[in-house]
């Protein structure tokens, strides 16, 4: 526990190169980013993050149980799960960055790249599909200017993707905009919905 504690509070996102062991990769990436003028992501497990993580760790009999929650913390802080974020999580939980990446890539909700300010997921699985879900997708691509699935609009605001069943099939078509879950969206209602976020 203590080894991870030490590694975790050092601020893995900082460009100071203070890391050792598993954290060297994160520090090096961060330094490279800084040199190339790419924004450095702040550490997630500083004092407050660390306290939150400790509370989570207390609920699991093994540290690895906190992996999914810790990755959620990273995504909440940064908007995506960057290589630095993965390395930081690996360090605080005593895992390897490769292991963490293996887990991240399994789950569709962790963004492995930055996405638009508004991340739109439209369910297009059969029950919604037969109720016009594909028209809803087309309407979003048009209204947001994102143009193509998975692409981000030129203003950086919108990324639109199709998702599989969102577990709200009776409320076709459900749409998620970031953490907002919106039921009963139709192609006609999309422009007003998009305008509400703009």
């Amino acid at each position: 526990m203590s080894a991870a504690d030490g590694a975790g509070t050092g601020g893995a996102g900082g460009a100071g190169g203070s890391g050792a062991g598993a954290r060297t990769g994160a520090a090096a990436t961060a330094r490279a980013r800084a040199e190339h003028g790419v924004a450095v992501l702040p550490a997630v497990f500083g004092d407050e993050g660390r306290r939150k993580l400790d509370a989570i760790l207390a609920r699991y009999p093994a540290k690895s149980g906190a992996l999914l929650p810790a990755l959620w913390m990273v995504q909440e802080a940064h908007g995506w799960v960057s290589p630095e974020g993965m390395a930081e999580v690996a360090a605080v939980l005593g895992l390897t960055p490769a292991y963490v990446k293996g887990v991240v890539t399994f789950y569709t909700m962790y963004h492995q790249h930055p996405v638009g300010k508004y991340f739109v997921q439209v369910c297009t699985t059969t029950p919604c599909n037969v109720c016009g879900a594909e028209d809803v997708v087309a309407a979003f691509l048009k209204a947001t200017g994102a143009g193509a699935l998975g692409a981000t609009s030129p203003d950086g605001l919108w990324t639109v993707v199709e998702s599989e069943c969102l577990g709200a099939c009776g409320f076709a078509t459900p749409v998620m905009i970031n953490d907002d879950f919106i039921e009963g969206v139709t192609a006609e209602s999309v422009p007003a919905l998009v305008a509400r976020y703009r």
């Binding site: 887990v103 399994f106 789950y107 577990g167 009776g170």
Partner: protein
């Protein structure tokens, strides 16, 4: 109730009684509605008595497989040598199914109470409530209820002041249908990729974190407080049909139907009446083509078959399908069966964890061949290739995701073959005409 519609007189509201009533979400509101009395009662019984009562009720798992809940609980070791765990499966990702979401949104304490009673029965001090990552609203509501339950001493080291430790932790998923499979779910809680595990060992022997574990669905656990409060015999008596299918069931109805929603009826209710009376039948000018009765993983019924199916485990099997999760997908005559079957196969291909060759390759090839057919480039042998492929995908893998892809494909080709053949013979021009 047929939430979001007003209750229908033919429903039997047990689980859904407080849907739509926001006050029931709060601890005070739940107490006012008689909440947590069943937990108090259960904690005054022996663990064996609780399990016996649930066995008497005949309650079967509502997550899809229909395994008797009391029997499952009795598989847990009597002599406790290490920690025991209960996992509540709130991953609800089976296309067509949206009942657990409604239970969590409206009656979070109903679920917490069921979790606590089950945890007591199986000697689990810790419960993991695994909620799919997309369920942001249920997550928020469950967390608020959980915080209140702790603040009121319902949970914790001295639950209800009875000297029993019951902790409940919400574990948020992160997007993966397969994590609803119980062993994948345990891996996901352990911070692993959600790959299903080979059984044996079964979870009751080696489950989450290597300890004896029981996994139950949200609806299963939410039924438990009612069984304790009103008796197993009462619950068993609710059935209209087979003594093997008891109690009430929430049916999620969706697709091209007039009033989609959740309807709670007793087991053995006629599908025809649920569809035509409660859910309002077809949309104006439309006729019924097919029904997938148990979530997308079960064989498709033709309109004719659906019209005399009884909604219980045996009734669905008698028609060559399964009750599954009770998520009913209604398809009318406007639906292109070939395209929608491809869309379902795409779901399984997307969600395959890719451990088993039959599933990884089989789901992907099923999609490719169906897309080829849809694109007007189907070959005469393609339908037989699909049937053969589906057979190779059935009963050969670690979990049944592969079988779940095959079931709708095979039944659709068998029952709606002319629709597939129309695409085959006519080249690109006629495709999707």
């Amino acid at each position: 109730m047929g939430f979001p519609h007003p209750p229908h007189p033919r429903e039997t509201q047990v689980l859904s009684r407080w849907f739509g009533d926001a006050e029931a979400r709060t601890y005070a509101g739940w107490i006012k509605r008689g909440g947590y009395a069943a937990l108090e009662q259960a904690l005054g019984m022996t663990r064996e008595q609780v399990i016996e009562e649930v066995k008497t009720s005949g309650l079967r798992g509502r997550g899809g497989a229909g395994f008797p809940a009391g029997v499952k609980w009795s598989f847990m070791p009597r002599q406790k040598t290490k920690a025991h765990y209960l996992c509540c499966n709130a991953d609800e990702s089976e296309p067509g199914t949206f009942k657990d979401r409604e239970i969590m949104r409206w009656t979070p304490h109903q679920l917490l109470e069921g979790c606590a009673i089950a945890a007591y029965a199986i000697q689990a001090e810790q419960v993991f409530l695994y909620i799919r990552g997309e369920f942001t609203e249920p997550l928020r509501i469950m967390q608020a209820a959980l915080d209140e339950a702790y603040a009121r001493g319902v949970l914790g080291a001295n639950a209800m002041g009875k000297g029993v430790r019951i902790d409940i932790t919400i574990h948020r998923g992160a997007g993966a249908y397969i994590c609803g499979e119980e062993t994948a779910l345990m891996n996901s809680i352990e911070g692993k990729r959600g790959n299903p595990r080979i059984r044996p060992p079964f979870p009751a022997a080696v489950g989450v974190f290597g300890c004896p574990t029981t996994i139950n669905n949200v609806e299963t656990l939410s039924s438990v407080p009612h069984i304790i409060a009103r008796g197993g015999a009462w619950y068993k008596g609710l059935s209209l049909s087979s003594p093997k299918s008891t109690g009430t069931k929430l049916f999620s109805i969706c697709g091209t139907v007039a009033r989609p929603g959740n309807y709670e009826v007793t087991m053995g209710f006629p599908l025809k009446e649920l569809l035509l009376d409660l859910a309002g039948g077809m949309r104006p000018g439309r006729t019924l083509k097919a029904v997938i009765p148990g979530g997308s993983s079960v064989p498709i019924l033709t309109a004719e078959e659906a019209m005399d199916t009884l909604l219980d485990y045996e009734g669905c099997v008698a028609k060559g399908t399964m009750l599954g999760s009770g998520g009913m997908i209604v398809l009318d005559d406007s639906v292109d069966m070939v395209y929608q079957v491809m869309r379902l196969a795409r779901f399984y291909a997307h969600e395959s964890c890719a451990q088993c060759t039959q599933c990884r390759e089989g789901t992907a090839w099923t999609v490719k061949i169906l897309q080829r057919i849809l694109g007007g480039e189907g070959r005469p042998a393609d339908l037989d290739v699909l049937l053969d492929l589906s057979e190779q995908m059935t009963g050969r893998t670690i979990c049944v995701l592969s079988d779940s892809c095959a079931a709708p494909v095979v039944s659709a080709i068998r029952k709606f073959r002319p629709e597939f053949e129309r695409y085959l013979g006519h080249g690109k021009a006629a495709a999707r005409a």
